[in-house]
Symmetry: C2
Amino acid sequence: MKEIIRSVKPTDKSRQAEIQHKIDLKTKPLGALGMLEEIALKMSMIQASLLPEVGSKGMLVFAADHGITDEGVSAYPADVTPQMVINFINGGAAINAFCRTGGINMSIIDIGVNFDFEADSRLIDMKVRKGTRNFAAEHAMTAEEAEQAVSAGMNAFNMMYDKHKVSIIGLGEMGIGNTTSASAIISAVTGKPAAEVAGRGTGLDDKGLEHKTEIIEKALALHKPDGSDGLDLLKKIGGYEIAGMAGAALAAAEKGVAVVFDGLISTAAALIAWRLNPAIADYAFAGHKSIEAGQKSALQLLGLTPIVDYGMRLGEGTGAAIAMHTIDCACAFMRDMASFEDAGVSEKN
Amino acid sequence: MKEIIRSVKPTDKSRQAEIQHKIDLKTKPLGALGMLEEIALKMSMIQASLLPEVGSKGMLVFAADHGITDEGVSAYPADVTPQMVINFINGGAAINAFCRTGGINMSIIDIGVNFDFEADSRLIDMKVRKGTRNFAAEHAMTAEEAEQAVSAGMNAFNMMYDKHKVSIIGLGEMGIGNTTSASAIISAVTGKPAAEVAGRGTGLDDKGLEHKTEIIEKALALHKPDGSDGLDLLKKIGGYEIAGMAGAALAAAEKGVAVVFDGLISTAAALIAWRLNPAIADYAFAGHKSIEAGQKSALQLLGLTPIVDYGMRLGEGTGAAIAMHTIDCACAFMRDMASFEDAGVSEKN
């Protein structure tokens, strides 16, 4: 695990000018493809190529349960986690529909669900434990479990990579209670108070939101996680699926594969990965703008701007899946569009 | 032409509750798919089906020249219109790259370019005239030409429909000078002064923008187009590609095909179509948020919200092409996602 974390290297900034020059020569007014030009630049840097490509696409959906649900922080019962995993297996969730539409290979990973699933080739069993401990009272996991979950995420990515040779990977999740863990992580890393980063999750009312904020504040005061230490954050206030996504992101970056994060929880995992090795930001895209306030602070630290903003609040990787198509289009213009010279088109007066 | 215009019928609002109910039963918190739920609802209404589908997709790119370029309103020379048409034919433009990526069938229509193209099966020749007249001095086109261009757009759609049985169509354009015509139309229809709707097009500086605004103001004062009359607007201040897109939109709606508009010029065409028959709005999506101020006022009238916002300012249908993937995902969740009951997932506490 530590070897992979160390091996993620920043992209080679010395190539940036050459890549930008190629973008500027395309048959369009300077900058006219807006954000797609930034995406094309980043993909070119990641792949160290003037001909970046989104070939095979992958989506890893990590599922886990959270002891913190004992505190009544979610609008849905914890049973929904395993129920939704079964829904993923049967192809009936939103992320299944989006992956089919986008031609994205999808893996479902049980990294910590509080349920004994029947063996199924469509479910990867990497269960660390049947859910985290209640971090309002004790550490969410042991240090060994945190490392095991990060390693599991790395392995899940490597299985996808070996099988489908993906050049881009989306990271989604399912876990009732996980916006509480994610918000706590974002608060600890950004230094913003819980009240500024916590949101309504799957649908809390005002009273529920107040309670959730209080739980986060108390837990942070109790455990005093080190906001600069990814593993300490996971151990004290994390979730297994968050650890898994962080590990998968680092393993992907190590292989030069672009990583598309999704909403709030996925972005908390990005922060963990970034604390483990800040070079991850060079490989990262923010797929979807969350309606949860916490994401914005996290993305500012990471230097990322969400690709789409559909007011979704589902997680699962749904925003990442849609954003991948935009990244695909950005690479396509970079590869296939003619230059002014090639096409014999006149330049600006 | 007039028969098709008359035949566009509003969608059946009596089905809305039933469709919304189906969306609400899907395995997700209420409203958690945000804008995709609105898109799914609209596609279901358009197709009068609880199982809406984006099957075959089309993109019509209309090209034409503009006499108004004599007034120096564009940052690029008018030669760029035919040069870019040749670029489209050769597959080297951004819209070609995006259509290939999205599996979208693309047609290129010469509806008024000031150039004699060699006959080519990849270019549809529907040229009305070699560019409009300079509407700073005289009407842009005759009434007959306006009707001919609208009819040509209808025919271009019908050719695409007959060949590819599309269920969704994007409308893009190329025409140096056409933001001036589009801004004039938007000003005339919305009643907003030219200074509030005109923008920098392909890249005017402050002085250029001021000049363009003045040209629009003078032309509107000279011709006094009737902002409620689509054909009068086309005749006095229109463009052949704008007329073509309006015609294509109406022909598509008449067949129950969803229409995805693009940036500023495409949105001006939407206004023309809407003045010819307001029911078009029931079939219309705004693909991309334009950085030109005029689009916002136009979309307010039409009741549309842009699907993507990438700060692009290229036209060609580029924003519409990307947005189609989102519409595809919205239909996919509507068709394929399980309900709480089907999946055995618990509902909210």
